[in-house]
């Protein structure tokens, strides 16, 4: 049988292994290109064949015994439901864009660079295709380790400190969530550590309230650190500021969604009382911390990449608010937002690197007037900025709107405060676009231009940018393309909540 999901995980891995063999540049590009292209094509193929009406159930299911089934209840159990499908597609498409961008980049030791990126890609595909909770976790670690190495070796300024901080935070987060997951498994009394089994067991008899509170608290803390929940966010801007662009694209765009995905797909539906117990605190941290506090911090940023990193932290606040709302509209909005944010933040990180190559700086005060020389780059960046500040017609709008609609039932006050964030994001978003591209040419840019005049985006940059932009516009104009499956799956998981 042709197993789409397994092949989508295995191809980048195989390509990464192949890259260990010394080979000429062209062959390297072809091997890596295939490794990035296959998951994207397979994801689109799966998306086209997916039955939306049955989105509550896992489809494309396969199971492989890894020898741990009897001892530990673990097996490689793959499949997609309406929640994981859009994220699987997200991983494929962002991976393709990041890969294409990396192939043309001039990184040192390109084989290792591409190989690690392919390892990340394999891990990402695995995270969202796994039904088995162990493998869900395992694939995340797999991708995370590659991320740490990439930041440490190819990172920019402060890469040593950034890599260390990233490693400490994310490992701590992952560890806490692992403890939470194990506790969940233990308490449920399930025979297998896969999600289907867990759901069945818990449907027959829920975990008692106080245990739910503890376990959900652990998971929220662990996953929260991974998704930069305030005040555990400080790794994110620093890490993304230092990370090489393709790694930042994959981590901020996709891997970071692991935590939200874990909460939405696993933790919240299985531990409803726990959610209720923590939702007040969660909303407070999400709105007061991530949206408002970080929103203002974002306004103060001068470094373009740090600003994008902070803005990404801010947008996670909306997602946490949607989880706190704990109803179908809010949770559905979180899933839509995860996908949309993945595309937009990846595009912004990519373009910021393209800007850097032209201005030789990330300091926005030293830019200005770049649009005259690079109108296409400006058009892409402005569109991506509008996507990230939630303009209708681009994907992010739907997620934010649904979260607001859902959260209003939970708390009109928190929702109103969260909506005020749309003003903050307009302030820093448009300010950055104006600082980088509009107005007169800054003296610093004039100096750089005199040495080497900035050229507009080349096709090797345009293609990955177009892939992401097309995804943003497609979902923006046609939200049903993902929302129908999300709705079916979320409605089944969260019915009566």
């Amino acid at each position: 049988m042709f197993d789409h999901l397994l092949i989508a995980i295995a191809t980048p891995l195989a390509a990464a292994l192949l890259l260990l063999i010394p080979m000429p540049a062209l062959a390297r590009k072809v091997v890596a290109g295939v490794g990035f292209l296959m998951p994207a094509l397979l994801a689109l193929c799966v998306w086209a064949q997916f039955s939306v009406a049955d989105a509550a159930d896992y489809q494309f299911v396969t199971q492989y015994d890894t020898g741990l089934k009897d001892a530990l209840g673990i097996s490689l159990h793959l499949g997609l439901n309406g929640i994981s499908l859009p994220l699987f597609v997200l991983a494929g498409i962002v991976g393709l864009a990041a890969g294409l961008y990396a192939i043309q980049s001039k990184a040192e030791r390109p084989s290792l660079y591409l190989g690690l990126l392919l390892v990340m890609q394999a891990g990402l595909m695995g995270v969202f295709a796994s039904i088995d909770v162990f493998f869900f976790y395992f694939f995340h670690e797999f991708a995370l380790i590659a991320t740490f190495i990439m930041v440490g070796v190819w990172g920019g300024r402060d890469r040593g400190y950034a890599a260390m901080k990233l490693t400490i935070y994310l490992t701590l987060g992952a560890m806490l969530s692992l403890i939470g997951l194990i506790a969940l498994y233990h308490q449920s009394g399930a025979e297998n550590f896969d999600l289907i089994a867990l759901r069945q067991v818990i449907a027959d008899g829920a975990i008692n309230g106080s245990n739910q509170n503890v376990i959900f608290g652990l998971l929220l803390l662990g996953f929260g650190i991974l998704v930069s929940l305030f005040p555990f966010h400080t790794w994110a801007p620093l890490g993304y500021g230092a990370a090489p662009s393709s790694a930042a694209m994959l981590h901020a765009g996709v891997l970071k969604k692991f935590g939200l995905y874990g909460l939405v797909q696993i933790a919240a539906p299985l531990l409803p009382l726990g959610v209720g117990h923590w939702s007040g605190w969660l909303a407070l941290l999400a709105v007061g911390g991530n949206v408002l506090y970080i929103g203002f911090v974002t306004i103060a940023q001068r470094d373009l990449k740090q600003m994008i990193g902070y803005s990404s932290v801010m947008h996670m606040g909306y997602a946490f608010l949607g989880i706190a709302a704990f109803n179908i509209v809010g949770i559905g909005g979180v899933v839509l937002m995860m996908v949309a944010h993945g595309f937009s933040v990846a595009l912004l990180f990519m373009l910021s690197t393209s800007i850097y190559h032209r201005t030789q700086t990330f300091d926005m005060d030293d830019m200005g007037g770049l649009a005259k020389q690079t109108p296409v780059l400006a058009a892409f960046f402005v569109t991506a900025t509008f996507a990230s500040i939630g303009l209708p017609g681009l994907a992010n709008f739907w997620g934010e709107l649904a979260i607001f609609v859902g959260a209003w039932k939970f708390s009109a006050v928190y929702t109103t405060l969260a909506i005020s964030g749309v003003i903050i994001s307009a302030v820093y978003g448009l300010r950055s676009a104006a600082k980088v591209f509009f107005g007169e040419t800054s003296p610093a840019l004039a100096k750089v231009s005199a040495e080497k005049a900035p050229t507009d985006l080349c096709w090797c940059e345009k293609i990955p940018a177009l892939v992401l932009l097309a995804a943003l516009l497609f979902v923006g104009f046609w939200p049903k393309s993902i929302s129908e499956g999300v709705n079916t799956a979320v409605s089944a998981l969260y019915s009566g909540k």
Binding site: G369, P392, T416, V422, I423, A434, F438
Partner: protein, 632 residues
């Protein structure tokens, strides 16, 4: 093929989107073709729109014509078309003005380097504007509400290499976002309070008397209009928006987009009908804006800024008219019953219509002047243009006469409708609006005299010349409409759903209103005509410097306050929080904790001692250990 009115409407609605997409994807370097594509699209929109409006076809009023666009749980966002008399009137305005502006732009933007971007932006704007016109529910309206903001941003920023244009576009979008914040909260509250945001459903429930009273919802929704229609205190973006090309100012910042706020208010009139307190606030906001902007207009030197403040003032008029609300009038002689007219809606929409004609005319006329004077915009450097640009002079004069309420022209009728309503409902508002009318006549005649009469005061003005046919034709069309637009007969009864709501004065009231309106016009116009001398300096500034300084201070006070907030409060607050984030949270808490927490400490040491890999293995080992322990 397109026999069905609904299909025509869909075509009219989607054509500009297609045009924008084609220009963005394929015509980036073919400015001339892009211009033709966009203008052809505008022609089809005008033709289709007028056909729909005047054929009497209406749909989506009783039964919704919509598709579900997003469904999550119990929440459904649908996109649907509602085409009643109100949207038919708005569609006609957008179609006609849109076409005039496109044609005018062919001449005005002839030598522009970024023609494709300009015309693509116009098409995108037309699409968004039509979305507002057709929207049958508030969520859909919000979507297009934000998109017109994008169109406005792109077009104000057309000359993006000018720092002033970049700043103005940013300011416009952010000020609108502030309004939209309230607007979105209002929509959400409406959705959760009434269970629907469908306009027809709200109207039907209001008519049946089953709509619970809520003053907060209409006020929050009004925030959207405050942003989009630039009412106090968010009016600051509109004068700055004049950084955009002049035809854009005519289309977006005079006739259509800024009027969308008033259109939206008329759409949700049922919510206001049960909320008199909300209506009172709306009335006073509009009245204050009308007066404030008229005062600001007096000291302006830039021809476009005069028109911008005039637009603000007239928008205030419309909002005030809406806020005055309904009126009980005797129907059919002395013995007959009384009927309640939604007179506010009627008067506001009537004035919106005539204003669209004469203000678009004057903006395009100013474009013609600016084009003729080689981009000179200072009215004190013009003068004597009546001889050099006779056609612009004649049409512009008609526009001026229309706005100051000269009997027989469009503005006379619509302004009288508002003044009569104010006289009946609220004397204080009536007095302020009369004062505003005096000021309107004053600053308009000031500008008109300085631009067209007297001696030529600069080399640019001395060499002024008329533009080509593409620039003069739209002026003629709009001049005709500015003359006849006040006669309801020309609308052929097709917009009676709106226009029949206008309250007309009878008998003694009629005489009073006529006398008042003539008096205010003559006082204002006469004073300005006699007072201002054709010189390079503002006569008010030289003769009464105190008054001039006071007016300038009034005008600049809002911007000064906002600038202070942005630079001194917001930025410092942001810097402070950034400092706390860097030092406080990541410094003390994180590193401090790292010092005492064994786990983190261990991890740190593992890192410091050497390779990352070692640590990673350590971690994986730990995970497996935990796993074993837990699963036993």
């Amino acid at each position: 093929m397109f026999q069905n009115p609904l299909q025509i409407a869909q075509l009219v609605f989607l054509l500009p989107l297609a045009s924008a997409a084609v220009i963005a994807l394929a015509l980036r370097r073919q400015g001339n073709i892009a211009a033709l594509v966009a203008t052809f699209t505008a022609t089809l929109i005008a033709a289709g729109g007028l056909y729909l409006a005047f054929s009497g076809e209406r749909f989506g009023v009783t039964a919704p014509v919509s598709v579900d666009w997003l469904t999550l749980g119990s929440f459904t966002l649908s996109l649907g078309l509602k085409f009643d008399d109100l949207s038919a009137l708005m569609l006609s305005i957008v179609g006609v003005i849109g076409l005039c502006v496109h044609v005018f732009s062919l001449g005005y933007m002839h030598d522009d380097d970024a023609k494709a971007r300009y015309f693509g932006g116009l098409s995108l704007f037309m699409f968004a504007m039509l979305g507002i016109v057709f929207a049958d529910n508030l969520f859909m309206m919000f979507i297009f509400w934000e998109l017109v903001g994008l169109g406005s941003y792109l077009l104000i920023n057309h000359y993006f290499f000018k720092p002033s244009a970049a700043a103005a576009s940013k300011k416009a979008f952010i000020a609108n976002r502030v309004g939209d914040f309230g607007y979105l909260c209002g929509i959400l509250l409406c959705y959760h309070f009434y269970g629907t945001v469908n306009l027809s459903e709200l109207a039907a429930r209001s008519a049946a008397g089953t709509l619970a009273v809520n003053n907060v919802i209409p006020l929050l929704l009004f925030c959207g209009a405050v942003g989009k229609s630039a009412q106090l205190p968010l009016q600051v973006w509109l004068p700055d928006a004049m950084e955009g090309p002049t035809p854009v100012s005519a289309l977006i910042h005079a006739a259509t987009m800024v009027a969308a706020g008033i259109f939206m208010l008329c759409r949700i009139e049922p919510l206001f009908a049960i909320a008199p307190h909300a209506l009172t606030i709306v009335m006073w906001v509009g009245t204050a804006t009308a007066l404030y902007a008229a005062l600001c207009a007096i000291t302006q030197r830039d021809i476009k800024k005069v028109l911008a403040y005039s637009t603000l003032s007239q928008l205030g008029y419309m909002v005030a008219a809406f806020g005055l609300g309904s009126l009980k009038v005797a129907h059919g002689g002395a013995s007959a019953h009384e009927v309640v007219l939604a007179a506010g809606v009627g008067a506001a929409m009537f004035h919106l219509t005539t204003h669209a004609f004469f203000k678009a005319l004057m903006f395009l006329g100013s474009g013609s002047v600016i084009h003729g004077c080689h981009h000179e915009q200072d009215i004190f450097k013009m003068g004597g243009l009546s001889k050099k640009m006779p056609l612009t002079f004649v049409t512009f004069t008609l526009g001026v006469l229309a706005i100051i309420g000269c009997p027989g022209l469009a503005g006379f009728f619509s302004k009288d409708a508002i003044l009569y309503l104010a006289m009946e409902k609220n004397t204080a508002v009536f007095a302020v609006l009369c004062l505003t009318a005096v000021l309107t006549a004053f600053y308009m005649i000031r500008m008109w005299k300085l631009v067209f009469l007297g001696t030529t005061r600069s080399a640019a003005a001395a060499h002024a010349h008329e533009g080509g046919i593409s620039m003069t034709l739209p002026l003629i069309v709009l001049a005709v409409l500015s003359v006849v637009g006040g006669y309801e007969a020309i609308y052929g009864g097709h917009f009676d759903g709106v226009l029949s709501q206008i309250a007309h004065p009878h008998g003694g009231d009629h005489t009073t209103i006529l006398a008042v309106s003539l008096a205010v016009m003559l006082v204002g116009a006469g004073a300005a005509f006699l007072f201002y001398k054709p010189s390079a300096d503002d006569t008010l500034q030289t003769k009464v410097p105190g008054a001039f300084a006071a007016l300038t201070l009034t005008q600049k006070s809002f911007d000064a306050a906002y600038d202070y907030y942005v630079a001194k409060v917001q930025q410092r607050f942001a810097m402070l929080l950034n400092y706390i984030d860097l030092i406080g949270i990541s410094g003390i808490i994180v590193r401090g904790t790292a010092g005492v927490t064994g786990l983190v400490g261990l991890a740190t040491r593992a890192l410091h001692t050497g390779s990352l890999h070692a640590y990673v293995y350590w971690f994986l080992g730990g995970a497996v250990f935990l796993w074993f322990f837990a699963s036993r």
